[in-house]
Symmetry: C2
Subunit: 271 residues, 2 copies
């Protein structure tokens, strides 16, 4: 595969980059099909919003041109785009004149077992909790040690994902997915104002639900909500939707609303 | 100045390094005097402990040799040492065979005004709160967006440091310092089991206080503790101790215990 730094082929980055020093940046993980980035408008929207919240200038037009060019070259696979605040000297204070740096990493398609989408997945019960930090909540920023710790908790292929709670015990998300519950034909997903990553597929599904007239509640979720759910699924912008069939002693079948949204998710990823 | 990656001169690092991808690593900032790293044993101890908590293997003997060699070359200045979990493919799961990577960055001596140590400093009242995450508390890891946001809150040279609280309102630390209060001849400093960085100079001062028979309380600190303090100071392993003379409407003079510990801190940094 290939990588570009500021639009030029490169497989290294300056050691003074603030992405390395402090995780001072944001990223997107974008599925590429038939030479085109999928869900591009939503990825660019989140990137610009994340940059704005961290005061990192994102040139969306330049990024879009680079993503289109990289996707055309890649054909099929996954692009990772990283925007950091750029380089700086020692110390947390940023150089206001430092130019943000763009990194594009092209990867092969994700190789998940077909059964994850068909039969569904079992979720690991992660003990790593998400800290509550409203200033960073929702952002796909580069401070991801909580996800690294959570993902290190299991190695068995019996678990395709892990369920993460916040430090107060609310159910928030998967390690690399967002979580949805179905109850009485309604959708529920976690409010992400304290922690969590507001996924691009989550945003797409919320928009699709509105279009279809499906009622959605975005609110705090607790174990009781999971226990009372008729269907459970996780989603992200690379694999779409995986039904969840088990978590600890709870079990579900992949229900009709999960299957309906799954085919919609597949459609936007197969563009 | 110069930089080494895995012991070799280099000013770039692989774009696949997990330090960049996730902030997956730890670091130390070490003052160098007369060709020697100061407080080296304490820095190495924290590095190994941090690596152990994150399951990143740190070869302390190799790191020590590199730091001694880099310090000899630098003569006087500041060494930043970063240990990351190494390189990996896309995804949070680490490759258990990936070798941790060592980065040494040599910098010129920190250029703080002499008045910071002599007359003391005014602290900015940071609105960025520290999230409570026991799994990462105390560690000097690479997820430092909270410090980046806090440091961006002020640009006036009237403030040499900023005071950070946690999301529950406890006083925790400075953006790049630890906080100590003096009350009735006793020392108080924040308990760091929920958040904060357990500084090497803080550890040195706690050890010195024990040696001198000064009573120390390591506990939760609140605004009332600050209001009732006879003396206030901040510390780190580069500048030693700065007395604090003002925070919002509160004022203090640099008192006898601050001055005594300041001269001890200067002595260990002037080795």
């Amino acid at each position: 595969m290939f990588s570009w730094v500021d639009g030029q082929p490169a497989d290294t980055l300056a050691v003074k980059n603030r992405g390395l020093a402090y995780g001072d940046g944001v990223f997107e993980t974008i599925a590429v099909k038939a030479g085109r980035p999928t869900l591009l408008a939503r990825h660019l929207h989140r990137l610009v919003e994340g940059g704005a919240r961290l005061s990192i200038g994102v040139d969306a037009q330049l990024v879009e041109r680079e993503l289109l060019a990289a996707a055309a070259l890649l054909g099929e696979g996954v692009l990772k785009l990283v925007i950091t605040r750029g380089d700086s000297q020692r110390g947390y204070a940023a150089d206001p004149l430092a130019a943000p740096r763009r990194l594009v990493l092209a990867n092969a398609p994700a190789a998940y077992p077909v059964s994850h989408a068909q039969q569904g997945v079992r979720l690991f019960d992660c003990q790593t909790r998400l800290a509550e930090q409203p200033l960073l909540a929702g952002l796909k920023h580069l401070n991801r040690l909580e996800q690294v710790l959570a993902r290190s908790e299991w190695s068995s292929p019996d678990y395709a994902e892990g369920l993460m709670r916040d430090t107060s015990g609310r159910l928030v998300e998967g390690v690399f997915s967002n979580l949805f519950l179905v109850r009485d034909g309604h959708l529920l997903t976690a409010d992400l104002s304290r922690c969590g990553v507001a996924g691009v597929m989550r945003a797409e599904l919320l928009a699709q639900a509105e279009r279809l007239g499906i009622q959605v509640q975005v609110r705090d979720l607790w174990l009781a909500d999971l226990e009372g759910a008729d269907e459970v699924f996780v989603c992200n912008s690379v694999y779409g939707i995986w039904p969840v069939y088990a978590f600890v002693s709870l079990n579900w079948s992949a229900g009709p609303l999960t299957r309906k949204l799954q085919s919609l998710a597949r459609a936007v990823l197969d563009v």
